[in-house]
């Protein structure tokens, strides 16, 4: 019987951190720690003597983890970024899902696989949610500005809503721009003229 793997998750957002921890715990018996405050990150991580460190690939503080790859660094056993050829498609899947994993020297691949599978699935889901959220927000903002532009046109020209939208759409088509861009220009110009 070997001791459970020790995993450190570096994530400042509390909800995201909890989601990752839950996903890991569902997939096996692990000793999971979260580090939210990145001050002195390498030393904080070293204190847990982890087998695996997980961090978002877009997190700028990733560079702090590079110190852990040095034998003379703060960790007893140096870690390597998880890219080994033996793991095959897993490494690429991790990069694509947006998770970077640092794995301690000598960890058997079969112990790592369930951890990576769970992390990849979770990061992929979070990435998807973030993209969807961004898109929803943008769509809402576009609709808001189009509504305002329609209102301005309706007032200025004494026309109905459908007609106002038709004007915006025609201008957009003529200029090869998006309706939202034309609406934005109109709202800005109207603001300047006030």
């Amino acid at each position: 019987m070997t001791a459970p793997l020790s995993i450190v998750v570096v994530e400042e957002d509390r909800d995201r951190a909890i989601a990752i921890v839950d996903a890991l715990k569902d997939s096996g018996d692990y000793d999971v720690h979260v580090i939210g405050n990145v001050t002195g990150l390498a030393r904080k991580i070293a204190a847990f003597l982890p087998d695996v460190v997980l961090i978002d690939i877009d997190n700028p503080t990733r560079d702090m983890l590079e110190e852990l790859t040095l034998a003379s660094g703060p960790l007893e056993r140096p870690v390597a970024m998880f890219v080994s050829g033996a793991a095959g498609g897993l490494a690429r899947a991790a990069v694509e899902a947006g998770v970077s994993a640092y794995v301690v020297d000598g960890l058997q691949p079969e112990r790592l696989k369930p951890v990576m599978d769970a992390a990849i699935a979770r990061f992929q889901m979070m990435r998807q949610m973030r993209t969807e959220l961004d898109e929803t927000r943008r769509a809402l903002e576009e609709r808001k500005v189009i509504d305002r532009a329609k209102g301005l046109l309706m007032k200025a020209k004494g026309i109905g809503e459908d007609e106002a939208y038709a004007i915006l759409r025609k201008a957009a088509m003529d200029q090869g721009r998006k309706v939202a861009e034309v609406a934005e220009a109109l709202v800005t110009a109207a603001g300047l003229l006030q």
Partner: protein, 390 residues
């Protein structure tokens, strides 16, 4: 003309200028290329994007491809540094608290004398100092070690810690670090924000330090030699354009755009011109050659530069220095540089290695086309590095 799109990763820094100018000023297009420039959130990310094939070329800290060849760091894919993108351009800065103590002991903040600055800093350090640097494998780290080794700072308990540059000012203000070595615009940003003062330019330690390189996977360089040649020539012409004084204003405006650095052009202009503002009270210092993109055969990847980096790193990690230098020399591809630059008018020195640190002044040396003027390359303590000892 139909152009080929080439993905290239970079960090949003002033010394990414040759890549940005190559795309924006039409040098890439003239070679039939469109550079798809991908901004990275960290140096590990730049390296990984290149290693995993997300991009075909990247701006890298000059020690990164060398240390990868030495098996250090997370990834060890074979890399080729095909040209030097920039020489010098780093600054060493201190917290406001240290600035005040240095002024008390009469340090003039001349932003030039590394020996005097080291002695003064050691005198006020109180026995220990923590320096922030952007990456464990960087010219920043190497310059600090050179500086420490030849000043009373060698007797101070100094720690070097990795801090992403956007967090440097915050770490300084919070007291997590006492000082830093970073590339522009981050030094000037800390001055503007009132968290630090600049003590030395990098070139006060080594007058001609290769800072960033244009790197590709060695395998890609071998399978795409023509594409690589076009990229190298476009970037070289961009560097030549940047080195002309008339280009400076346009370059600062270009880099300052939200799409690129999103920093005021006046702040960027400091690094490009060498007119540095070093403290919150607005003191200015002139540093000619603060950042070089072209002069003195700056883009030539000297194998001796790679060997110098390797010998420094090997001495700290306990690797065999001769073997480390041998591996490193194969990373800086003066052979590919010569092949790609033939016929462009680029300075091609007769040799691919030189003694590092012997030139006190700009000096003419033998070149393929007659003579090339090399800039001074001295270390502040007068040390000389011989790439082929014995």
């Amino acid at each position: 003309m139909k152009t080929v799109s080439l993905p290239v990763a970079y960090m949003p820094l002033v010394d990414a200028a040759p890549l940005i100018a190559a795309q924006e000023m039409g040098f890439a297009e003239a070679e039939g290329l469109t550079l798809d420039l991908v901004a990275a959130p960290s140096w590990s990310s730049v390296r990984d994007m290149l290693a995993f094939g997300r991009v075909d070329a990247a701006q890298l800290l000059s020690p990164v491809p060398v240390t990868m060849a030495l098996g250090l760091g997370g990834v060890t894919t074979a890399m080729s540094a095909v040209s030097v993108l920039s020489v010098n351009g780093n600054v060493i800065g201190v917290s406001r608290a240290l600035e005040a103590r240095l002024r008390q002991v009469g340090h003039p903040f001349d932003f030039a004398d590394a020996a005097a600055a080291g002695a003064a800093l050691a005198a006020v350090a109180g026995g220990r100092l923590t320096f922030g640097v952007p990456f464990p494998f960087s010219m920043h780290v190497e310059l600090l070690h050179v500086w420490f080794s030849a000043t009373p700072l060698s007797a101070v308990d100094v720690e070097i810690r990795t801090v992403p540059p956007p967090l440097m000012a915050q770490a300084l203000a919070a007291g997590d670090i006492d000082a830093f070595c970073v590339g522009e615009p981050w030094g000037s940003v800390s001055v503007e924000g009132g968290s630090g003062a600049l003590l030395l330019p990098g070139r006060a330690i080594w007058r001609f330090a290769p800072e960033k390189v244009l790197a590709t996977r060695t395998e890609w360089a071998e399978t795409e030699p023509h594409l690589l040649g076009r990229l190298m020539r476009a970037v070289w012409r961009a560097g030549r354009w940047l080195s002309q004084p008339d280009s400076r204003t346009a370059a600062a405006e270009l880099l300052s755009r939200g799409k690129w650095l999103d920093v005021p052009s006046e702040v960027i202009d400091r690094a490009l011109s060498g007119h540095m503002v070093i403290s919150a009270s607005g003191e200015t210092r002139e540093t000619p050659g603060f950042l070089e993109f072209h002069r003195g055969a700056a883009n030539f990847p000297w194998r001796s530069q790679a060997k110098w980096i390797a010998s420094q790193v090997a001495s700290r990690t306990g690797q065999d220095p001769a073997e480390a230098m041998d591996r490193a020399a194969r990373v800086f591809r003066s052979d590919l540089y010569r092949a790609a630059m033939h016929g462009t008018g680029a300075d091609l020195p007769g040799a691919s290695e030189k003694l590092e640190g012997t030139l006190a002044h700009p000096t003419p040396v033998a070149s393929v086309a007659g003579r090339v003027i090399l800039e001074g390359d001295g270390f502040f303590d007068g040390r000389v590095f011989d790439p082929s000892p014995g």
